[in-house]
Symmetry: C2
Subunit: 259 residues, 2 copies
């Protein structure tokens, strides 16, 4: 037990759920769970050894010394401003897109950002989730890094500027990729072809990309081999779908120029 | 043993390798392996029970009744024209992008296309690979479908026009996705951030997309929630990289319009 460091959670959503359970399993005592909706706080507290659900943001009498704010981005600033914690307590938010300074009312502050998408009822191996940490000072850094290392094998110190770049990378690698998969499904749907047909190839493509030294090393397809005849056929086929055609042209040009 | 149907392979590359081993394991006898380079034919024949390596395309005396042409796309037409097979034998190619009619010199012809990317030394569960089949006639269809079903749980009849659409879908879902992963890595590399940080998120994103009813149902990110402030920040950041910026704008607009 890390009896000197007890923790509390502001928020009872997916991120709080996974972090509270993992940190308790690592030996940290969870003291309180806050939610605006008491049932939500109670539902999470019931999963824990001895946590108290609460609707109050006044934690001045709490035994916790680290407070995690794990609420939607739009609520963090307001909650941080209203939050009362014991003297010298650390306040950390878990958001990837908010700066550390959103917690400026608190002297000891940090970002404790798990770079993963969480679903409450999906089992997730938290040890493989990279944690990106940023802190106001060295003692807070030492404490949060130790805590993250108890539950994850991958802990990085990432400042707010770097976090922004990570986010841009994630937009390309995740949001845009997801959208392309959706377009592929639409293309197949229109011809009554099962999207299932492509799934094994998609899985294998992503595995190869992530295990190659660089995804560019395993790039394939008509743009990569400069097969103008096939590219023309595809662009011609897509002429009824100008948005898809425009994406096809844009990414084909980009692949060609990256060679 | 399917003693009435013996097979031979024209080609000794990745596809021939996986198919020959799987079909032999399913009880089909492999009679001959052809390669221009005898060592290649021998290397594969040595993996099999009783196959003869050969450099000749004259199979008129062969006991095989199904001949698989598994060579690079650019060589299929030429090899098919030179190939001599016994009367009533079936000739099938394994290419996703060539029409059935490239085999027009042969009366009984088929396409036997495994929709997957193969590497010779990577273990692959062939039972999960979808096979797309097209044939010249019903008796050939019956025989090739039975054969495919012996080695895969997913066998579809897909004509040449549908195969073209599948290919366009695969360009979006695989080639373009791979390119976006490469761009994400470039963005991180420039700031000395490890691409490993994003890998668990990418894996989870793709799993969610493939298990949702439609990838659009699990779309996230600034474009999806119409977060103009973040989008402007990202576009501004990318102004030194016009190609990336152009892709960012194009896909952001497409996500917005698809909602």
């Amino acid at each position: 037990m890390h009896s000197e460091v007890d923790i509390s959670f502001i928020g009872a959503g997916n991120v709080a759920w996974h972090l509270a359970v993992a940190l308790e399993a690592a030996g940290y005592q969870v003291r309180e769970i806050y939610s605006r909706t008491l049932e939500h706080a109670t539902a999470l507290a019931d999963k824990l050894y001895n946590a108290t659900p609460t609707q109050s943001l006044d934690f001045s009498g709490s035994k916790a010394t680290v407070f995690f704010i794990a609420v939607p981005d739009s609520q963090v600033a307001q909650i941080a401003a209203a939050l009362k914690v014991p003297e010298k307590a650390i306040v950390a938010h878990t958001s990837g897109s908010l700066p550390l300074e959103v917690l400026q009312d608190h002297e000891y502050r940090g970002v404790f950002y798990p770079l993963q998408t969480f679903s409450k009822h999906t089992k997730l191996d938290i040890h493989s989730v990279p944690f990106c940490l940023e802190t106001s000072d060295e003692s807070t850094e030492l404490l949060l890094v130790e805590m993250a290392q108890q539950i994850s094998q991958t802990v990085y110190l990432v400042n707010s500027a770097e976090r922004k770049v990570l986010h841009i990378g994630a937009v390309f690698a995740c949001n845009f990729t997801n959208h392309l998969l959706g377009i592929a499904k639409n293309i197949l749907d229109r011809e009554d072809l099962e999207f299932d047909l492509l799934k094994p190839l998609i899985q294998e493509t992503v595995q190869k990309a992530l295990h190659a030294g660089h995804p560019a090393y395993v790039q394939t397809g008509p743009a990569n081999r400069n097969d103008q005849q096939i590219i023309d056929q595809h662009i011609d086929y897509l002429s009824a779908y100008p948005s898809e055609q425009h994406i096809y042209r844009t990414l084909t040009e980009s692949i060609r120029h990256s060679k």
